[in-house]
Symmetry: C2
Subunit: 406 residues, 2 copies
Amino acid sequence: MITVEEAQTRIIESLAAHLPSTETLSLADVLDRVLAESICSDLDIPPFDNSAMDGYAVRSDVFASRTAEYPIRLKVVGTSAAGHPISARGISPVQCYRIMTGAPVPEDADAVVQSEWTQLDPEEKDVIWVSRPVPKGLNIRRQGSDISNGSAVLAPGTRITPAIIGILATLGKSRVTVYQKPLVAIISTGDELIDPDQTPMPGQIRNSNAYALHAAVCKAGGHPIIIPHAPDHLATIIARLDQASQYDLILSSGGVSVGDFDFVKQALDANGTQAFWRVNMKPGKPVTFGHYRHTAIFGLPGNPVSALVTFELFVRPFIRQWQGDTQWARMVVPLPLLDDFEEISDRRHYVRCQIRTQDGVVGVTANPDQGSAIQTSWLAAGGLMVIPENQGPWKKGSLVPVMLLH
Amino acid sequence: MITVEEAQTRIIESLAAHLPSTETLSLADVLDRVLAESICSDLDIPPFDNSAMDGYAVRSDVFASRTAEYPIRLKVVGTSAAGHPISARGISPVQCYRIMTGAPVPEDADAVVQSEWTQLDPEEKDVIWVSRPVPKGLNIRRQGSDISNGSAVLAPGTRITPAIIGILATLGKSRVTVYQKPLVAIISTGDELIDPDQTPMPGQIRNSNAYALHAAVCKAGGHPIIIPHAPDHLATIIARLDQASQYDLILSSGGVSVGDFDFVKQALDANGTQAFWRVNMKPGKPVTFGHYRHTAIFGLPGNPVSALVTFELFVRPFIRQWQGDTQWARMVVPLPLLDDFEEISDRRHYVRCQIRTQDGVVGVTANPDQGSAIQTSWLAAGGLMVIPENQGPWKKGSLVPVMLLH
């Protein structure tokens, strides 16, 4: 059996020659997509010196003088409001402009004094008194201080967040080229499975993997397609896999163990190649990865918990890397155990856990029943504790790595 | 000025009398929505005792005997495969059933021995030899061990994850009642703003807030509607706000500072009520919350960075609580500083930061330029360090609370 890391390496290697296709979409449609173009700026941001405050644009040399006596009297000779270009007329040392947040700084002015530091003259119109020194540059956002004209701002492979959408809008990118989402065919197998809207007969259970995996693919950024469920019959499973192989990735669940009825593995033996079968992890050991004809395929365990754990560890990274995402890994943070964790396993153990604050400390506690058939142990699970092979027991307070899921 | 906590409390209080509407959707459409019904189970899960392994179903009393000699010989009298009900015929102590993962356990059998512990007899058909004792209950998933018939499984207010979709499918909930998403009207104001596909004239900038907030509302689970941009003109802003007030929430950006052109605040003074204006935080101090006519409104600062920080702290919690989500808060975890953080502020400081591994330790480092006009400081920001008022300087290695953003 190979390690989780070795399995992940083989998955990454399988994508080495993959060139994702691109599509160009409106800015409103690219949230969470992966950028496929380099974004350079063809203007300075801010495009002009502007005020960070409501106040008065002044010449700082007036305040730099050693002989200055406070308050200093200034004459307001104009107003600069955002969106309104100001005349080229400069100001003298005894003059200032009323200026609004975001408005252009007038010629000759090199600082903005906020309104709170000034008083209007009680009698003389358009005269203010400034109560303290105003250093050069105060409250001025310099042209190009955020982004300079010609600079590279975003690289291909960047996942697009709301803040990045703001930057793209600022740079005038109303249409953006992103990598396409992979089309992911989902096949579940097993004579025992019925659809959720059917009533189980003795020996039957409802198909939950197809729907849970559909949702997991959506969350991971893929486009899921549910293929009709396949009974335990080799020819039917091959027909379903042939249908699924027109898409970018096949996810099957069930049929990859060692039993007489594990036909997915048999179909893969007949018409595909395996990069790995069985990984030294718990739950999820029988996970398989390879190619069915020329399409990448994950054979996930039929067990609902194992299917989602192996999805997190292998399928989600595949889906994100397939579309060029450079930040494909879930965040793993060390958190203190809020209770002892006694169990030691010879397999890497991914433990469904809750992250919560106790006595002012954020920590982690294992959900009670870690059985791989216990779907409800996912409830309130905010992460997976990653317990290394053959290590433990872990005492309350020990730091353990936790993969954050949401 | 009020504190961030006081502001959040006033927002929560404003929702005290709010009863979210519901809608019933197909299981494939409820990912990330908030459950509006109690989900009880009308069957045991698993619905019958079944095998966790491929192997042989046996009677454990054979192995419990002190006089048992290994290997023990058993006759295979049948096969239990998933999805196929088995005959009621039981087994004697010298008999067993071949059994597949997930298949029903035959009557009288009370343990499953995995194939690895057995050997087929080399000559006699349908005879196996078991090499070691098999304790009662081994490899059997008991009926009802995950969910028992009649039990309450999910409560209203639960956000629906892929794992929960799996549980809903298992319980036969092919249609699910969820709370409606709030319709969120987005208004940006300012004479300086142009659309992203336009070329700025002197003094103009492209409107980024409308698009960044559109994306942020989507991520938070709301349904955004962009209202045409409003210039700095009181009557127009009132007309836009009147249009926006037909929706569930108004988000405006800009126009809430103290300048002569801050018409959103004037419109709110005329036609609304304010729950707060100005919060002791940085960036984002001028944030406003209240009601315009009868519709909740956030007046966010015009500054793109301030707009998104105040969105995270106030608007996202509002949108999630509006639709009944009981887990509305972002996760905050303590992480060690990878560099000194010297700055001390009299306002609560939300510092855009990167979370990364250095020398094997996951830690946090502030992005270089925290200016509120520096949109690019959001790039690669995985969180916001929450630096308390009047505290610091913070040394490398100190634990600081970090709000995780993704």
